[in-house]
């Protein structure tokens, strides 16, 4: 079996171990597996193609250089990679001299599943669908706050000011929204994907 084919069947955790030893091909296999999800997240956060590419590159280089920092007990490799992209994205959004996160993004609608993607063949896509379904159960005012925090990098204090809501209301909606997402998976008898 060729080396590339061997990598294709290795679990993410095994690829991480190889990568920690400096194996670039193991990294390439992980990139091929998770770059679509990471790029999609980066695109959602940054709002344009070039910035999304830069952020994705930055995040994957961080993944490469920090392979030893991954701890399987804290979540899956995919979650770890996406959290790196998310954290770098928040840093970049907050450090922008002139924030592009304008009021119109406040009005931006919730992410919806695209009909063509519904019930896609792979397990990963099924998970995506479940997550989108879970988000669909949220009241719009809770979803908006999650989006402003998670995708646009606003702090709870900034959201309070932006939406002209008491800070306690913002915190309360965050809490309720996370609780409701968890309840969705509990009701469906499905474990929260890691």
């Amino acid at each position: 079996m060729g080396k590339n084919r061997q990598y294709a069947i290795l679990a993410d955790e095994d690829l991480m171990s190889l990568m920690e030893g400096g194996d670039a091909e193991a990294f390439a296999a992980l990139y091929d597996r998770h770059s679509r999800a990471a790029y999609s997240l980066c695109y959602r956060m940054m709002g344009d193609r070039q910035a999304a590419e830069d952020l994705t590159q930055d995040a994957f280089l961080k993944v490469w250089r920090s392979a030893g920092g991954y701890r399987s007990e804290r979540g899956s490799v995919r979650t770890w990679i996406l959290s790196i992209a998310h954290n770098r994205g928040i840093d970049q959004l907050r450090s922008m001299a002139s924030r592009r996160r304008t009021q119109d993004r406040v009005e931006q609608s919730a992410p919806r599943s695209q009909p063509s993607e519904a019930f896609a063949e792979t397990w990963r896509n099924r998970q995506r669908e479940q997550i989108r379904e879970a988000l669909d159960t949220l009241p719009p005012e809770q979803l908006k706050i999650l989006e402003l925090a998670y995708f646009s990098g606003y702090t709870h204090v900034e959201i309070s000011s932006l939406l002209d809501l008491p800070l306690g209301t913002v915190k309360g909606r965050m809490r309720l929204a996370l609780k409701k997402i968890r309840s969705y998976f509990d009701q469906e008898n499905v474990a929260v994907p890691r």
Binding site: D23, Y39, A52, E117, R128, A134, L146, M174
Partner: protein, 245 residues
């Protein structure tokens, strides 16, 4: 920064997992978790729910050119020898015995350190230039690069000592976790079980560089601990970065 109480932690934990806290608030939550590790599982659980949001956006294929660019960097870095990673647990245990050493004359050191720091920063700039020059001239084989492991590295920090051929060395830490305002990262060069104070990390954003003021020749290990601002005479905490030499 005021220490966080349980009520404040409960109030902020949801915003924390969503990444919706200021840097100061985030540092306070992390400081709370450091002294209340029994709450970590709860935060991990909440983080798991929050992290699902990352999968919600409509999907886009990354351009093929992006893969080429990323792989170009990765392959060039994989060609360089990496410092062996090793378990840091033995160093934690070993240095842990030094925890109770009294701070002694730390206050007296502050005055000296303040003036010394000015010189140190000049040294850092100078050494950074030298490191860059050496790399540019492909003289990497004449320098020694030592990657540090430890809890900061596990949190994503990248710390590397570049030892120059004239026995000077510089430590560069990227993506270092935030520290409380009244704390500083202190470098120690350990020889025959004696840690010698060897520099303070002065962060600029999430990066810091410092000249290592003690020669590394014949040293057993290099470590970084978090100490009261101004530094300590002896380590008062477990290392956050460490590497046996």
């Amino acid at each position: 920064m005021r220490p966080m109480d349980e009520r404040s932690f409960d109030d902020l934990k949801d915003a924390y997992v969503l990444g919706a806290l200021s840097d100061e608030e985030r540092a306070a939550v992390e400081a709370y978790l450091a002294v209340n590790p029994e709450r970590q599982a709860e935060v991990d659980d909440l983080s798991g729910v929050a992290s699902l949001l990352a999968l919600a956006p409509p999907e886009h294929d990354p351009p093929a050119d992006l893969r080429r660019r990323v792989m170009q960097v990765v392959e060039s870095e994989s060609a360089r020898p990496r410092a062996a990673r090793r378990s840091t647990s033995s160093w934690f245990g070993w240095l842990g015995g030094l925890r109770n050493v009294a701070l002694g004359a730390a206050a007296l050191l502050v005055v000296g350190l303040l003036s010394w720091n000015v010189l140190l920063q000049e040294d850092v700039r100078d050494l950074r230039g030298q490191v860059e020059e050496a790399r540019t001239a492909n003289e990497a084989q004449e320098t020694r690069e030592i990657e540090l492991g430890g809890t900061w590295a596990e949190q994503g920090a990248r710390a590397e000592v570049t030892a120059l051929k004239d026995d000077r060395a510089i430590l560069v830490v990227e993506d270092m976790p935030s520290m409380p305002e009244d704390r500083t990262g202190q470098v120690w060069v350990i020889r025959d079980e004696n840690p010698e104070p060897s520099g303070l990390l002065e962060p600029s954003g999430n990066m810091a560089a410092t000249a290592i003021t003690t020669p590394l020749e014949d040293a057993d290990a290099i470590a970084v601990t978090i100490e009261p601002a101004g530094g300590s005479e002896e380590p008062t905490s477990d290392p956050v970065l460490v590497q046996e030499l």
